[in-house]
Amino acid sequence: MMNQMTNVERSVDSKNIKIAANNVQVYYGDTHAIKDVNVEIEDKTVTAFIGPSGCGKSTFLRCLNRMNDTIDICRVQGDILLDGEDIYDKRVDPVQLRAKVGMVFQKPNPFPKSIYDNVAYGPRIHGLAKNKAELDEIVEKSLRRAAIWDEVKDRLDAPGTGLSGGQQQRLCIARAVATEPEVLLMDEPCSALDPIATAQVEELIDELRSRYSVVIVTHSMQQAARVSQKTAFFHLGNLVEFGETGQIFTNPVDPRTESYITGRIG
């Protein structure tokens, strides 16, 4: 199965840019964490951010739905355009943005509530369902999309925290897709999972590509190679190289990318 995924269709038909970042700088206090990053993330594509620890890939990911707003000392400069609109514009409410740009975190973090309530929470606060039947429908659809419906359909009232790690992470993905986002950000979604759960989540990511633009941060180069069509390599806060995944892994332009991929740095 994993071998099949390395042979995923690389070419992307539509050149439909979902997110465009121009000259993005991020500062943590006095530290210049992200330096002059330009990147274009396409719709219905999996884009992987790879790079050694502390290179800024997670920081950049969190800029894309303004999760960095919760950190007082963090400042972002430059433009990040979602469908041509600057998400750091004063008129943008981050709460509305985050409904459009969903996020899955490194550690599975279901709410300590029932499985149903975990998925239903987003639709509830955004008023996506008019009645209970509609909400039920959204919950089922989201759990199906996250490929976990069959495992939990008989125990929707059971606590989400009682699931296994891989199930919890897929529940978190179901929760993220329940609000009908356009972009799905994933911050090392498999780093806390065992290989089998990882394979399940990777398979799921490939399915999600048909509906969403997926951006995934990963430490595992194999994972990036398996699931993504585009890859960006970050090093020391710089975006070193960005291109087709196949090209990055087989024929990198920058010597630093080559060193990282072949295991000499990082």
Binding site: N65, M67, A99, V104, F111, Y121, I125, T161, T179
Partner: protein, 453 residues
């Protein structure tokens, strides 16, 4: 590494000895000895603590249980119409004109009859016999007659309190030797008490009035109860709970979740911790200056006591609430924000419910602290006030002068009669029962609602 290899060969003097693993070398022996010494210190410290606790509890229980028993004398009193209702028309106003003093002869003659009936031989005059009863007996009789004027002319059975010396004699606190210089009781009276006890009309029984009754004057310790000051404490706790919980939780949520990190919030934070360490008497003097002298709220009122204790409890609640908010993992906040919840939704839907058991525990412990606080009440006049009447309704409960349990205990411990001393210990038992109950509830809540994630 290179530095070490360049050092002269003589430098490393301590080499690991190569001996049998079955033999402990001197160094290991020393370390093991130090460890077991430390364990002994710890066990000794805990032992001393437990011993103190046992001594304290035994002391309180032995000294205080007496207050829950009281000596009573059963008497059949004939409510003579010619004394109580001289005009004979049953007019309640006329009946009320007979003062408590006028009831004394009724009791004296009732006692005389009783003695004759039981066949007790004594040299005491009826007046002397009557003195073994509490001064509260006449008042009790009068209250009964005014409440039931129809009973005039009939004989009614009463259970009167005996005075504190007789009660002390029954409990072993007063002996024939100890009353040598006591003018309020004589050896003959004690003999008389023995005779009555043997006849079965004078006995000890559970003292419900101590728990629910009101305080009494210096002359009548046997009639004093802690009930009214318990109500005072209850009303104060209402004020504390109604003010300290919402204010404390709101302040903590703002400081913990919303306030920017800057110099001002740092100063506020440090000062809240400082406030928790301020001696309670300082809050008392603040209450006196602000609530009574400036705002002219009534003195000795549970409302003012509650306000002062609120000031004192707030830092405790804020500190424990902030600690339990901090203990909620940030991943929960991220999860909520990640699906597009606003900050307030994240806090109120997810963080606060998870922090609730901690907040409740902190609140209950803060309340328990406030319940046992005496010093600030000293300054606003809740100590020294004799809580002789239960408050009349809820408004009066907050505004009319009252005492509080610890204040009442302090007040009793100051009085001369040893019977009051016994009551002070009894009051401490009741107060401790409240505190232990509250702390147990706090522990149970924490156990019950503790969530794992």
């Amino acid at each position: 590494m290179t530095d070490i290899s360049q050092m002269p060969d003589a430098a490393p003097t301590a080499k690991p000895k190569s001996g049998s693993l079955f033999e402990k070398d001197a160094r290991t022996k020393r370390r093991n000895a130090a460890e077991s010494r430390f364990k002994m210190y710890g066990i000794a410290a805990i032992g001393i603590g437990l011993l103190m606790l046992v001594v304290l509890v035994t002391n309180i229980v032995t000294a205080g249980t007496g207050a829950f028993q009281q000596t009573y004398l059963e008497l059949n009193v004939e409510l003579k119409a010619d004394k109580l209702d001289k005009k004979g028309n049953g007019n309640i106003e006329d009946i009320k004109k007979v003062s408590t003093f006028g009831y004394a002869p009724l009791i004296a003659s009732a006692l005389e009859n009783e003695v004759v009936q039981l066949g007790i031989q004594t040299d005491l005059k009826p007046k002397e016999m009557g003195k073994i009863l509490s001064k509260a007996a006449q008042a009790e009789l009068r209250n009964y007659v005014i409440a039931n004027p129809d009973e005039i002319g009939k004989a009614v059975s009463f259970r009167f309190l005996t005075n504190s010396r007789v009660d002390g004699y029954m409990k072993g606190r007063v002996t024939r030797e100890s009353i040598a210089n006591d003018k309020s009781v004589s050896v003959e009276q004690l003999d008389f008490v023995d005779q009555l006890r043997d006849a079965g009309v004078l006995y000890k029984a559970f003292n419900l009035d101590f728990i629910f009754g009101s305080d009494a004057s210096d002359q009548r310790p046997e009639a004093a109860g802690i009930g009214v000051s318990m109500l005072g404490s209850l009303f104060m706790m209402f004020v504390v709970l109604a003010l300290a919980l919402p204010i404390g939780v709101a302040a903590s949520i703002y400081l913990e979740e919303f306030a920017p990190q800057n110099r001002l919030t740092d100063i506020i934070e440090v000062n809240i911790s400082n406030l928790a360490a301020v001696p309670s008497i300082v809050f008392g003097i603040l209450g006196l200056a602000v609530f009574i002298n400036y705002m002219h709220l009534p003195t000795s009122a549970p409302l003012v006591g509650g306000l002062v204790l609120t000031l004192m409890t707030l830092p405790t609640i804020i500190i424990s609430t902030r600690a339990s908010l901090k203990a909620v993992p940030p991943s929960i906040r991220d999860a909520a924000l990640g699906v597009g919840a606003s900050k307030m939704q994240a806090v109120f839907h997810h963080v606060l419910p998870l922090a609730a058991p901690g907040i409740l525990t902190g609140t209950i412990i803060g309340l328990a602290q406030a319940l046992g606080e005496t010093a600030p009440l000293l300054l606003i006049g809740m100590v020294g006030f004799i809580a002789s009447n239960p408050p009349d309704g809820i408004v009066a409960g907050f505004l009319s002068p009252n005492s509080a349990m610890p204040a009442q205990i302090y007040e009793w411990s100051k009085r001369a009669d040893p019977a009051f001393y016994e009551r002070a210990w009894g009051g401490i038992i009741i107060l401790l029962i409240f505190l232990v109950t509250m702390n147990t509830i706090a522990v149970l809540l924490r156990r019950r609602f503790e969530r794992r994630w």
